[in-house]
């Protein structure tokens, strides 16, 4: 277990280092410098600014300093908003995105698993076909289109939910649903196929033969085993939620980290892009690791490779 964990952490560190290095050099290669704007800047001021941000140093000094700062959880200043640091940006935006993301994950899991279980229990009946057509459609609609349509129908035409902004629960419903739509569909398909496989097992037949009620068989015996692929999907799911939040937060005017990131991209705020990318990568790598560990805990049959005793 410890051996496995060290190995995983090592690979995570390697991935992270690669990301930091890549973003650092990409941002240097990017056209223009951070202070490019419509107005021509006097050379003396530009030199001063460069000295202030350490941009007059050779690249390897800058690179080393950046690595050192990231290790200390300091992503440096924002180039566009002079008084703000990237850390402040993250501290302000992330809690909002986190709440929205959790809500979306909850919706995706609840609806996706339910749909999948119903489809599997009514295999090849109309409920199955209906659930699967809904799922294929859900996968086929990009989240920003889903968001725009939800906004158009439920906010503009029917007026049930607020159009945009953030603060109340009602305001979070539409963005969370839009964010959850794709993952819901994927989870439904995943659950259905693994439920179908589990239901054909002998121990389900045994349980039926013992006269256990259908509900108990489904909940206690089938779902427990069928849920495993869904758990392993949690890693990619959190990645999907993070990237989905870029567009969803922009559409609904939510002041989260996602919309901040998009703003940084459009402003070409290179330090902010770098910092937020590294931050997201850390979050995602950690969540993938957590899911893998959780997986070993939930299913005792799985022995994490590398460890002799397993998890």
């Amino acid at each position: 277990m410890i051996k496995y964990l060290t190995k995983r952490l090592l690979f995570m560190a390697l991935s992270l280092w690669l990301i930091i290095t890549a973003t650092f050099f990409f941002m240097r290669m990017a056209p223009g410098n951070p202070f490019t704007s419509e107005k021509k800047m006097p050379a003396a001021i530009e030199a001063n600014l460069n000295a202030h941000y350490g941009l007059d140093q050779p690249w390897y000094v800058q690179y080393g300093e950046y690595l050192l700062r990231v290790v200390q959880w300091d992503f440096g200043p924002s180039f566009k908003y002079k008084s703000q640091t990237v850390n402040q940006l993250i501290n302000e935006g992330f809690p909002v995105s986190f709440v929205l993301g959790l809500e979306a994950i909850f919706i995706a899991l609840a609806i996706g698993v339910t749909l999948g279980v119903i489809a599997a229990l009514r295999h090849n009946k109309w409920q199955d076909y209906l659930a699967m057509i809904v799922a294929v459609l859900g996968i086929s609609v990009p989240s920003f289109i889903m968001a725009a349509f939800l906004q158009y129908i439920f906010a503009m035409k029917l007026g049930i939910f607020p159009v945009a902004r953030w603060g109340t629960f009602m305001q979070s419903v539409l963005p969370a649903v839009a964010l959850a739509a794709g993952p819901t569909a994927f989870i439904a398909r995943l659950t259905r196929s693994s439920m179908l496989e589990v239901l054909s097992n002998d121990y389900i037949k045994t349980a039926k033969a013992k006269g256990i009620s259908g509900f108990n068989i489904t909940v206690k015996h089938a779902i427990r085993n069928a849920i495993l692929p869904v758990v392993s999907y949690m890693g990619p799911l959190s990645a999907g939620i993070v990237t989905g939040s870029f567009v969803i937060e922009k559409i609904f005017g939510i002041p989260g980290l996602g919309s901040q990131f998009v703003k940084s991209i459009n402003n070409r705020d290179y330090t902010a892009i770098m910092g937020v990318t590294v931050f997201y990568s850390i979050i995602l790598l950690v969540s993938v690791l957590l899911v893998d560990l959780l997986y070993g805990l939930i299913d005792p049959r799985i022995k994490l490779s590398g460890g002799k005793k397993g998890a």
Binding site: F11, I19, S140, V141, F144, K250, I273
Partner: protein, 305 residues
């Protein structure tokens, strides 16, 4: 009740040669797959839809007298009518024309990205799987590390650095896009290479490239095809996503993504400007998804009746 006498029956004989004769023409693997694919109504629907979409991408522009870049400022934001089937946009450009022009670009980006993924993935996965040992270890570790980088984040970064354009977009998508394909091909090659016919081929002195090209890759073609059909919608999706973030193509070039992005801003008053591009993005992704599912089901021996 009528009496059935024995003389009403006649023995026609049953020669042992006759009964051993194969009456039905032998079914090749792909013919069998195709027959089963045809039974899947949703998949056939997807295929027809896709063929229609591709055909319209070429035929569509010929059906109207307009072109995709010409402004007509006297006719901006017109709703769909007999004159402009899908209405016009804020510069008075015909949406019908732009939709089919965008179809070509969106489909091209999707298919080109998928094709590059295919080539790199098959070569990388094939070599890793066939060579095994240290080579495999190193190659797959490289893939693992790259796989750890969130795909869309990297694509966004690359687009910021490389600048906007069709080719930079395809390049950005392919940099980590091939890993799925490589992993899948490696798995296939690993399980296939220990089979007897590969051993026979090797004994006869076939070169590695011949074994790969003639035996391993063709036998892994099914899963490769499935992965390929599921990569295309992903790429089209990514294109739309990037366009929405303002990292897509620059005007007057139009893809479905950029048109949907323009449409969202005008959604409240001119909903058709979002509706048409959005619908075609969804239809295309839907078509590729159901075709991919259909091929996968058709290839699955467990579903064979």
């Amino acid at each position: 009740m009528q009496e059935i006498s024995k003389d009403k029956f006649e023995i026609v004989g049953n020669s042992s040669i006759e009964s051993e004769k194969i009456s039905k023409a032998s079914l090749s693997f792909w013919k069998d797959v195709f027959t089963r694919f045809k039974k899947n109504k949703l998949a056939v629907f997807g295929l027809v839809l896709l063929i229609l979409l591709i055909a319209m991408a070429f035929v569509g522009p010929l059906l109207t007298p307009y072109n995709y870049y010409e402004n007509d400022l006297t006719k901006t934001n017109q709703p769909p009518s007999a004159e402009h089937y899908f209405g016009t946009d804020e510069l008075g450009r015909d949406m019908f024309e732009r939709i089919w022009y965008g179809a070509k670009i969106s489909l091209f980006i999707g298919i080109a990205a998928a094709f590059i993924d295919l080539v790199i993935g098959v070569i990388w996965g094939g070599i890793a799987g066939y060579k095994g040992g240290k080579t495999d270890e190193v190659m797959m570790r490289i893939a693992d590390v790259l796989y750890g980088i969130p795909y869309l984040l990297l694509v966004i970064l690359l687009m910021v650095v490389l600048g906007q354009g069709i080719w930079t977009m395809i390049l950005a998508m392919s940099i980590t896009g091939w890993i799925n394909m490589a992993r899948m091909v490696r798995g296939q090659v690993l399980s296939l290479k220990s089979q007897e016919y590969i051993l026979a081929s090797r004994t006869l002195g076939a070169s590695v490239s011949r074994i790969m090209g003639k035996h391993l890759i063709p036998n892994a073609m099914g899963p490769i095809l499935v992965t390929l059909t599921l990569t295309v919608p992903n790429a089209i999706f990514t294109e739309a996503f990037l366009s929405y973030l303002g990292l897509g193509l620059t005007p007057p070039l139009a893809s479905w993504g950029t048109m949907a992005n323009d449409g969202i801003g005008a959604m409240q008053y001119y909903p058709w400007r979002l509706f048409f591009p959005a619908m075609f993005i969804c239809l295309t992704i839907f078509a590729f998804n159901v075709i991919g599912d259909g091929i996968r089901d058709a290839l699955d021996p467990r579903l064979r009746k």
